[in-house]
C-alpha cells in the first residue's frame, strides 16, 4: 500500500503491514483464537455437511402426491431420533466446546499490571488515536512501537464516543468506553508492522481510523524511544508559520504548542501515515493534506486553512523534518 520514508525501514522487517488477517496470528494470544476458530470450523463443517446430506436425501425420497396423505400421527422411533440428534448430541458437543472455550479465555484476558514489562496508554478520539508511554514520557499518535517478545499492556480510554482498539494479528479487540478502564495485551513474537483499526462504529470517519503497531527488536525499540524523547530543534524555519496560521491551536508540538483537538505532531515526520492511516506520510501527501483535509477525510475536525501554495510547502517541509 503506502509508507513514508520513516516506515519503509520498519516495513522491510516484514511484509505483513497490509493485512488484518485473523488467521495469520503473530502472538500466542492471537494464535489461541485462531486454533479455536479452526476447531470450531471443522466441527461446524461436519454439522453443515450432515444436515445438507439429510436435505439431499429428502430430495431423493420416493415422491408422494398432494392428493394423498402418507401417514398420520407420531412415529416413536423417529421421535426418539429427533431427541437424540437434536438435543442429546448437541448437548454433549456443546458441553465439550464450552469447557474448551473456558480454557482458552485466559490467553486473551486482560493483562495484570505486574505481568507487563511496558504500559502504553492509547486513547480513541474522533477519528485518530492518542498514544502515550507514561514511564518513558513519550507522546505520539496513530502508531505504537513495541519491543518484540515483551508483554506490553495497552490501557485504553476514550475522549469522546466508544471506539474499539483492535490489532487482529496480535490479539482480540477491546472497547474504549467512557469511564471504563480496559486493557489488552500485545506481545508480538516476530518483528513486523501490524495494522489495527477502530472496530466500534464511531461516526463519520470510522472507516478511516486506523493505526500501526511496529514491533521491533529491543535495541531498535530503545533507539525509537530515545528519538521520541528528544524535543524537536527549536527555531526551525516552519515553526513560526505553524503557530502563526493557527495549527498550534489543535496540535501539540513539544515546546511549541499544546493543542489537543488533533494528533500530536512532535515527531510526525517519523510516522508512516497521515490522518490515522488514511494516506501515506510523504512530502507530497503532507501538502495534499494541509491543502484540503476535508476532501481526503470528509468530516474530520481539521478545517480548510486557505493557505497559499508556498505556505503549504513550507509547512509540509517543516512537519516532515520533525523526526
Amino acid at each position: 500500500m503506502f509508507f513514508g520514508a520513516g516506515g519503509a525501514a520498519a516495513l522491510l522487517l516484514s511484509g505483513c503491514a497490509d493485512r488484518q488477517n485473523t488467521l495469520a496470528p503473530h502472538s500466542s494470544a492471537a494464535r489461541s483464537i485462531t486454533t479455536l476458530w479452526w476447531v470450531m470450523f471443522i466441527g461446524s463443517t461436519i454439522v453443515v455437511m450432515v444436515v445438507s446430506l439429510l436435505v439431499v436425501l429428502a430430495f431423493l425420497r420416493r415422491r408422494g402426491s398432494l392428493d394423498h396423505v402418507e401417514a398420520r400421527g407420531e412415529s416413536p422411533r423417529a421421535r426418539n431420533a429427533v431427541l437424540v440428534s437434536g438435543a442429546l448430541v448437541p448437548a454433549v458437543v456443546l458441553t465439550i466446546l464450552f469447557v474448551y472455550v473456558l480454557t482458552s479465555v485466559p490467553a486473551t484476558a486482560e493483562p495484570k499490571p505486574k505481568d507487563a514489562k511496558l504500559t502504553i496508554d492509547v486513547g480513541g478520539k474522533q477519528w485518530f488515536w492518542t498514544v502515550r508511554y507514561p514511564a518513558q514520557h513519550v507522546t505520539t499518535a496513530n502508531e505504537l512501537h513495541i519491543p518484540v517478545g515483551v508483554p506490553v499492556r495497552v490501557r485504553v480510554h476514550t475522549d469522546d464516543v466508544i471506539h474499539s482498539f483492535w490489532v487482529p494479528e496480535l490479539n482480540r479487540k477491546i472497547d474504549m468506553i467512557p469511564g471504563y478502564d480496559n486493557s489488552v495485551l500485545l506481545e508480538a513474537d516476530r518483528a513486523g508492522v501490524y495494522r489495527g483499526q477502530c472496530a466500534e462504529f464511531c461516526g463519520l470517519q470510522h472507516a478511516n481510523m486506523a493505526f500501526y503497531v511496529v514491533a521491533e527488536p529491543r535495541a531498535a525499540f530503545g533507539r525509537w524511544v530515545a528519538r521520541e524523547q528528544r524535543p524537536p530543534a527549536a527555531g526551525a524555519p516552519g515553526a513560526t508559520l505553524f503557530t502563526q496560521v493557527g495549527c498550534g491551536g489543535c496540535h501539540t508540538i513539544a515546546g511549541l504548542s499544546t493543542g489537543t483537538v488533533g494528533p500530536d505532531l512532535t515527531h510526525v515526520g517519523g510516522r508512516m501515515t497521515l490522518a490515522a492511516g488514511t494516506i501515506p506520510q510523504t512530502r507530497a501527501d503532507l501538502e495534499r493534506w494541509i491543502g484540503d483535509p476535508q476532501h481526503i477525510k470528509p468530516g474530520n475536525k481539521m478545517p480548510a486553512l486557505h493557505l497559499t501554495g508556498s505556505q503549504i510547502k513550507r509547512l509540509a517541509a517543516y512537519l516532515e523534518s520533525l523526526r
Binding site: 493485512r19 488467521l23 476458530w37 461446524s44 425420497r61 423417529a78 431420533a81 471504563y180 461516526g203 470510522h206
Partner: protein, 629 residues
C-alpha cells in the same frame, strides 16, 4: 358450499359480514384478512426500500475507495437498512401472515379485538412514514440500528436524526404491543371447539411465542428510547459519564430487547416452516409437541443471552462465562426443531414444490447461521471477529436465511389462499434458485471478509488487504438476489389474473385455513369447525360434519359478528364472543398519535399537548358503541 345446504344461514352470514367496497370501508374495516393483506403489502414496500439501501451500499463497497456515496449518506443507509429490515419489514411481514392466518388456522372468524388489530396496522404505517420522513428533512438516523451512546447523544449527533429514531421506535412499539396482546388473546381464547393446547398449529405457537417475547422485550427498548430522548431534549444524564450516567446502560437495555428480538423475528418464521413441512412431506409432523415446546423454550432462553453482544466491552470473565453457556444452551431447542423437520421429511414422501424449495433452502442456510452463532458464544473468538463482516455474514444467514426464506416460502404457500390463484411454478422455481444462489454469493464471502479483518459499518476501505475480490463477489451476489426477488414480485403480480384457479385446498394441507374457500368469505367459516386432531383438515369425516352442522344451523352464529370463545387449555366452548364491525376509531387514534409524535419531534410543546388531548379523545370515542351495533 356450492350445494344448497344451509342457504338461509349463508345468506344471513353474508348480510352480517359483507363489507361494501369504497373509501369508507377502506378506512374503517376491521377484517383481519384485509388488515393482514395490508401488513403484507406495506411491509414488502419497506423491504424494497431497505433493499435499495442495501444495493447502494454493496455498489459503494464493490471496489476499494468506492465513490458512489459519502460517509454521511452511507451511515444513514446502513442505519435505515437495519431499522427498516428489522422493524418495518420482517416483523410486520410475519405479523401480516399472522393476522391473516391465525384466526383461520384456529377456526375463528376474526381476531379477539378487531379494532385493536386495525389500530396496530395504522400505527405501523404511520410510524414507518414518520421514520422515513427523516430523509425528506435530510436527517435520517445515522448511528446504526443499535444506536450506541454516547455517539447518539446530542453532543455527537446534534441533528434531529436520533430523535426520529427514538420517537419513531416508540411510536411503532405501541403498534407491536397492541398486536402482540391481540394475538395472545386470540390464540388462547378463540380456538375452535376441540382444539386443545396440544393441537394448536405450530405457526400459531410461533406467533404466540413472538407475542410473549415482544411484551417482555419491548419495555427495555422503550425505556432506552425514552431515556435517550430525555437526555437529548431535556438535559437528563442517563448515559453520559461526565454527569454520572453510564454508556453501557444503553447497551444493556438495547440488547435485553435486541437479542429476544432475534427470536421475535425467527419464531414465527419457524412456525411457517413447521406449517409447510408436513404438508409437502405428506405426513403429520414428527414430535409436534416437542417442537411447540422448543418454540416457547427458545423465546424464554432468548432473554438470557444478551451480553454476548457485549463480549468486547471488558465486563468480567465470570459474566461472560454465564452468557456464553446460555448462548450455547439456546442451540438445543433449535436442534430439536431442525431434526424434527428433517425426520418428518425423511419419514414422509416429499412433494417438491416451490414452498418446500424455500424451506429446504432455509434449513441449509439456517444451519450455517446456527453454527457461526455457536462460534459467537466462544468468548475469545467473539472478541476477535465481533464488529467485523463475519457478524454481518452470520446474522444474515440467521435472519435472511432464518426468516426471509420462510417468508418467501409463505408467499408461495399461502398465495392461493389469499388470491384464489396459483403462482406460476416454473417462474417460482427459477426465482428460488436465483434467490438461493444470490443469497449465498452475497453473504458467504462476508465470512471471509470478517476473518480477513474488514470491520463493519465502514463506508470505504483501502486496497491491498485482500478484501476487494470478496467484496466484488458479494456485490454481484446482491444483484443476483435482487433478481430472484424481482422474479417473485413479477410472479405475484402476474398470477393475480393469469394464475390457475386454486380451489379451497390446492396442497391437500392439514390446517384449517384450507377448510374454507380461497379467498375465504368475510366470516371465514360458515359453521365453526370442530377439531379432533392436530391435522384437522386431514380429518375428512370431521369436515363433512362441519357441512352437516351448517345444514342444521349449528355453530353458525348468526347473531352478529360472532365467533366461539373456548377455554385456553382444552378448547371447550365457553361463550359466544362478539366483535365489532367497521370502526373509524382505530384510524382516528392513529392520526391523533401521529400528530403528537410529529409535534414532539418538532419541539412544539403546545401542539404536542393538543396531540395528546386528541389521543385521549380518540380513546374516549373508542368506548362509544359503534353505529349499527
Amino acid at each position: 358450499m356450492s350445494t344448497v345446504v344451509g342457504r338461509e344461514e349463508l345468506e344471513r352470514l353474508e348480510l352480517l359480514w359483507a363489507e361494501r367496497s369504497g373509501l369508507k370501508t377502506f378506512l374503517t374495516t376491521c377484517d383481519h384478512k384485509k388488515i393482514g393483506t395490508r401488513y403484507l403489502v406495506t411491509s414488502f414496500v419497506f423491504f424494497v426500500a431497505g433493499g435499495v439501501a442495501a444495493l447502494t451500499m454493496r455498489t459503494q463497497l464493490a471496489t476499494a475507495n468506492g465513490g458512489i456515496v459519502g460517509p454521511k449518506v452511507y451511515n444513514e443507509l446502513f442505519s435505515m437498512h437495519g431499522v427498516t429490515m428489522i422493524f418495518f419489514f420482517v416483523t410486520p411481514m410475519l405479523n401480516g401472515f399472522g393476522n391473516y392466518m391465525v384466526p383461520l388456522q384456529i377456526g375463528a372468524r376474526d381476531m379477539a379485538f378487531p379494532r385493536m388489530n386495525a389500530l396496530s396496522y395504522w400505527i405501523f404505517l404511520a410510524s414507518g412514514l414518520f421514520m422515513y420522513s427523516s430523509f425528506l428533512v435530510g436527517a435520517a438516523p445515522d448511528d446504526g440500528w443499535f444506536n450506541y451512546t454516547p455517539l447518539a447523544e446530542h453532543a455527537f449527533t446534534p441533528g434531529r436524526n436520533i430523535d426520529f429514531y427514538n420517537l419513531g421506535l416508540l411510536f411503532l412499539t405501541v403498534s407491536s404491543t397492541v398486536g402482540a396482546t391481540n394475538f395472545l388473546v386470540t390464540i388462547f381464547k378463540l380456538r375452535a371447539p376441540g382444539m386443545s393446547l396440544n393441537r394448536i398449529p405450530l405457526f400459531c405457537w410461533g406467533i404466540a411465542a413472538q407475542s410473549f417475547s415482544l411484551i417482555f422485550a419491548l419495555p427495555a427498548l422503550s425505556a432506552a428510547n425514552i431515556f435517550l430522548e430525555l437526555e437529548r431534549r431535556f438535559g437528563f444524564h442517563f448515559f453520559d459519564r461526565a454527569n454520572g450516567g453510564d454508556a453501557l446502560l444503553w447497551q444493556h437495555l438495547f440488547w435485553i430487547f435486541g437479542h429476544p428480538d432475534v427470536y421475535i423475528i425467527f419464531l414465527p418464521a419457524v412456525g411457517i416452516v413447521s406449517t409447510i413441512v408436513p404438508v409437502f412431506a405428506r405426513r403429520s409432523m414428527i414430535a409436534h409437541d416437542w417442537l411447540a415446546l422448543a418454540t416457547m423454550a427458545t423465546a424464554f432462553i432468548g432473554f438470557g443471552v444478551w451480553v454476548h453482544h457485549m463480549f468486547a466491552t471488558g465486563l468480567s470473565n465470570v459474566t461472560y462465562a454465564f452468557y456464553s453457556a446460555a448462548s450455547m444452551v439456546i442451540v438445543i431447542p433449535s436442534g430439536v426443531q431442525i431434526f424434527g423437520w428433517l425426520a418428518t421429511l425423511l419419514k414422509g414422501r416429499p412433494v417438491i414444490r416451490s414452498p418446500l424449495l424455500y424451506i429446504l433452502g432455509f434449513v441449509v442456510t439456517f444451519v450455517i447461521g446456527g453454527v457461526t452463532g455457536v462460534m459467537f458464544a466462544a468468548i475469545p473468538f467473539d472478541q476477535q471477529v465481533t464488529d467485523t463482516y463475519f457478524v454481518v455474514a452470520h446474522f444474515h444467514y440467521v435472519l435472511f436465511g432464518g426468516a426471509v426464506f420462510p417468508i418467501f416460502a409463505a408467499i408461495h404457500y399461502w398465495y392461493p389462499k389469499l388470491t384464489g390463484r396459483m403462482l406460476d411454478e416454473r417462474l417460482a422455481t427459477w426465482s428460488f434458485w436465483t434467490f438461493f444462489v444470490g443469497f449465498n454469493l452475497t453473504f458467504f464471502p462476508m465470512h471471509v471478509l470478517g476473518l480477513l479483518g474488514e470491520p463493519r459499518r465502514v463506508y470505504t476501505y483501502h486496497s491491498g488487504f485482500g478484501w476487494g475480490i470478496w467484496n466484488l463477489i458479494s456485490t454481484i451476489g446482491a444483484f443476483t438476489l435482487a433478481a430472484g426477488i424481482l422474479g417473485t414480485v413479477v410472479n405475484v403480480v402476474r398470477s393475480r389474473r393469469a394464475g390457475a384457479v386454486a380451489g379451497p385446498d390446492p396442497w391437500g394441507a392439514n390446517t384449517l385455513e384450507w377448510a374454507t374457500s380461497s379467498p375465504p368469505p368475510e366470516y371465514n367459516f360458515p359453521s365453526i369447525p370442530v377439531v379432533r386432531s392436530v391435522d384437522p383438515n386431514w380429518d375428512v369425516e370431521d369436515r363433512r360434519d362441519d357441512i352437516r352442522r351448517l345444514e342444521h344451523a349449528e355453530l353458525t352464529l348468526t347473531g352478529g359478528h360472532e365467533t366461539i370463545g373456548t377455554d385456553w387449555l382444552d378448547g371447550n366452548i365457553e361463550e359466544v364472543h362478539e366483535g365489532p364491525a367497521e370502526s373509524p376509531w382505530p384510524l382516528l387514534l392513529a392520526l391523533a398519535l401521529s400528530w403528537f409524535f410529529l409535534a414532539f419531534l418538532a419541539g412544539h410543546w403546545v401542539l404536542a399537548g393538543i396531540g395528546a388531548a386528541l389521543t385521549a379523545a380518540a380513546v374516549g370515542g373508542w368506548q362509544l358503541k359503534e353505529p349499527g351495533e
